[in-house]
Symmetry: C2
Subunit: 145 residues, 2 copies
DNA sequence: TAATTAAAAGATATTCTTGTCCTTTTCTGG
DNA sequence: CCAGAAAAGGACAAGAATATCTTTTAATTA
């Protein structure tokens, strides 16, 4: 198991890619993005359509169209994106899948995992969608393979 | 997304349940376990067969048979179980699914998630399969719903 | 040894995720 | 207004995860 679903992995990589390109003032087409993050183009298209509907990214049809993220949206926390795609199970769900797990009716791992869930949430909440634009520009970070 | 697969959730809950019963000196049948942890009986049977083949639990056929875990195995780390079911992606995999992600070719989240992966591994490695026997006996912890 | 019990094994069904294909809509530039 | 570009949308396909059913094997005990 991975932390995120494959869909979410593609979504995060794509949004980082779009944020980076958008910070340079240009829109990006689906082909460009798919190549830039090594993902199946048509599947990624579905994911981005969904993110667009949910308002996490913007899109424009027609010539010179493509996907982009405005400055305000680039300041949004990564947790918004993860939650939109994978839900909030990572932040709030019981590690053992128990619906009724809580402080007063804890599963064996409840307390230990609370710390981990909190840390994951904090990390994703602190990180913004545009956080890595500089490093991506300089080629210091990878979004491929 | 949850941290563990459904299969792994069932596996952990079942193993905690078996460890607890085994510490009282009795074997447990699949029906008993499935009822004790609220899981689909026949699916759980498959999971336990697999764990048995992998040596994480023991089983005995015939009357008075069932599943059990000996004292030595009750001291094994939970990480062994998780790894047997879900693999080691949680401990070592890249959060964004990149095969080549590493210190020298990091994805944007590489460093942040290293801390989280380490913490998860540490937690699962410190916790033993028999860790919660006392609390389960006293009814202080839940494995159901 | 026969009957019973319980796990093992194999086959199949269902559901969800991931991935592809084809058509439609919308926008832009000439 | 027309042709082309690009995303949106709907339908479908493949694969993996989850779940069930049936038969077989092994052990116990009467």
């Amino acid at each position: 198991m991975a932390i995120f679903s494959k869909t979410c992995e593609y979504a995060i990589r794509a949004v980082f890619y779009i944020a980076h390109k958008s910070s340079l003032g240009s829109k990006v087409g689906i082909k460009d993005i798919a190549a830039g993050i090594d993902s199946p183009e048509l599947y990624l298209a579905k994911i981005l359509q969904d993110l667009s509907r949910k308002g996490l990214i913007k899109s424009a049809k027609g010539p010179n169209g493509g996907f982009y993220i405005d400055e305000a949206a680039r300041a949004r926390p990564l947790s918004d994106l993860v939650e939109a795609v994978d839900g909030n199970g990572l932040f709030y769900g019981c590690a053992l899948g128990l619906k009724q797990c809580s402080e007063i009716n804890p599963c064996p791992l409840h307390n230990q995992f609370k710390a981990i869930r909190d840390q994951i949430y904090l990390l994703l909440h602190q990180t913004t969608l545009g956080e890595f634009n500089q490093e991506l520009l300089k080629g210091l970070l990878s979004l491929k393979k």
